[in-house]
């Protein structure tokens, strides 16, 4: 049981952090302009960059 738990977080730790960034990004720009917009660009920029990096990397 313990092993399964640690396995779960080993796999899902990074995706969870990314999900939190995405969620912050999605809601930040609803609250205001300026710094809030910038926060939303950062929050949604992180998943975009990670995905594009995986897609474009070649040996």
């Amino acid at each position: 049981m313990r092993r399964r738990q640690s396995n779960f977080w080993k796999v899902f730790a990074t995706p969870t952090v990314i999900a939190l960034f995405s969620a912050t990004g999605l809601f930040a720009a609803l609250l205001g302009d300026g710094i809030w917009d910038a926060l939303s660009w950062l929050g949604l920029g992180i998943p975009s960059v990670l995905a594009l990096r995986g897609l474009l990397q070649r040996r």
Binding site: F8, V11, A51
Partner: protein
């Protein structure tokens, strides 16, 4: 035989994995064609504002001194009626970024369905009518109709809502499947040198998991928007019908009181709100006997939440300030979160990027399924021959 051939998943019971795999395979396969269409048509829609300007379809107001006074609303109604004789007003809309303009929507009757209405812009200072071609037809309208209802009205919207629900199921089951696949791999590993299938499997998992939150939010808000007709009908039933009950047996209006002071009247009862749009009597956002002035909040967040003020269309008395049921708030908040138009051009570009990435996840999903089936088929045939 599961759809993906996992050897890594011995800890999670293999039966459980097979079930999730089946759920993921079929929920995705059924919705993929629709989701691809939605993602492709959604792409230009993200930039509809920019595209309108680029194509010269955006209505441009004449430059005039900044303090040029506005005509009153009744004068604008008359200007609109002069522009389209024989039609009646359905809506006046107000836009923050064009304070000198009013969007007018007219149709042969107030109850005419939205797709048959005509949208144009009125210069609030002169009453001059300006065309808004992309709001009435053309390429962007085709994209919009495909995206909203596939030219099939309510059944089309509900089918797309169902596909959206399947998409959400596919995302959730896909996330569950992520665990057995990634148990022995570091995050963001993309195996480049083994096979095309493994490379795309890793990319499918990576892009899928990082775009998860965005895809869920856009999926769920899309489903909510697709159900808008039902939500509006529910609102008419729940809130509107109680407020207008005294008018049930009133004869239909032959003449409307002038619209001149509607905004002032609404502002008196909800002083800290801004007008968003006015629904004229007989439209689906009002009753036969009322102007409904929809007021929005003054803060960033509350500007998406609308409060209707019902104004008697013959006496100009305020009948009621309607309460906002939670589902109308959900509908209001769903719009920015689905369109991505609330954080400047950089957010739109990120929206388009994530949309493109979703297309790649959908495409690679189909590819992985096809490749897997091809690999399984000879084995099955061999097994049959042996038996």
């Amino acid at each position: 035989m599961d759809g993906f051939g996992i050897s890594e998943g011995h800890e999670m019971k293999s039966k459980t994995i097979r079930r999730w795999s089946t759920v993921h395979t079929w929920s995705s396969l059924i919705c993929t064609v629709f989701l691809l269409m939605l993602a492709l048509t959604g792409l230009p829609l993200i930039f509809h504002h920019e595209i309108d300007h680029l194509l010269g379809d955006a209505a441009e107001l004449k430059p005039m001194p900044a303090d040029t006074p506005h005509l009153n609303l009744q004068q604008l109604v008359l200007a609109a009626e002069k522009h389209r004789p024989g039609e009646v007003m359905q809506y006046f809309g107000f836009e923050d970024d064009e304070p000198n303009a009013v969007i007018a929507i007219m149709a042969p009757t107030a109850g005419t369905e939205p797709n048959a209405s005509h949208t144009f812009m009125l210069d609030a200072r002169t009453g001059e009518a300006l065309q808004m071609p992309s709001a009435n037809g053309g390429f962007m309208m085709v994209m919009l109709r495909l995206h909203v209802d596939m030219f099939a009205g309510l059944p089309g919207k509900l089918l797309l809502a169902l596909m959206g629900i399947l998409f959400v199921v596919a995302i959730i089951s896909g996330t569950v499947m992520y665990l057995p696949f990634m148990r022995r791999l570091k995050f963001a590993t993309v195996r480049q040198d083994k096979s095309t299938r493994l490379r795309w499997l890793d990319l499918h998992n990576l892009i899928g998991v990082v775009t998860l939150t965005w895809a869920l939010v856009v999926g769920v808000t899309g489903v909510i928007s697709a159900c808008a007709d039902l939500l509006i009908a529910a609102w008419r039933n729940d809130s509107l019908s109680a407020m207008i009950a005294p008018y049930r047996d009133a004869p239909p209006l032959t003449q409307l009181a002038p619209a001149t002071r509607l905004l002032e009247i609404a502002n008196e009862v909800v002083p800290d709100m801004q007008p968003d749009f006015i629904a004229f009597p007989g439209t689906r956002f009002s009753s036969e006997h009322h102007y409904a002035v929809f007021m929005k909040g003054s803060t960033h967040l509350t500007s998406h939440l609308l409060t209707p003020v019902l104004i008697d269309a013959s006496t100009l008395q305020v009948t009621a300030v309607a309460e906002r049921p939670w589902y109308m708030d959900a509908m209001g908040m769903s719009q920015p979160l689905h369109f991505g138009d609330y954080g400047g051009l950089p957010l739109k570009i990120l929206w388009a990027t994530l949309d493109g990435l979703t297309i790649i996840v959908l495409g690679s999903g189909v590819f992985l399924w096809v490749v897997r089936r091809k690999a399984v088929k000879p084995l099955l045939e061999k097994a049959e021959r042996v038996a």
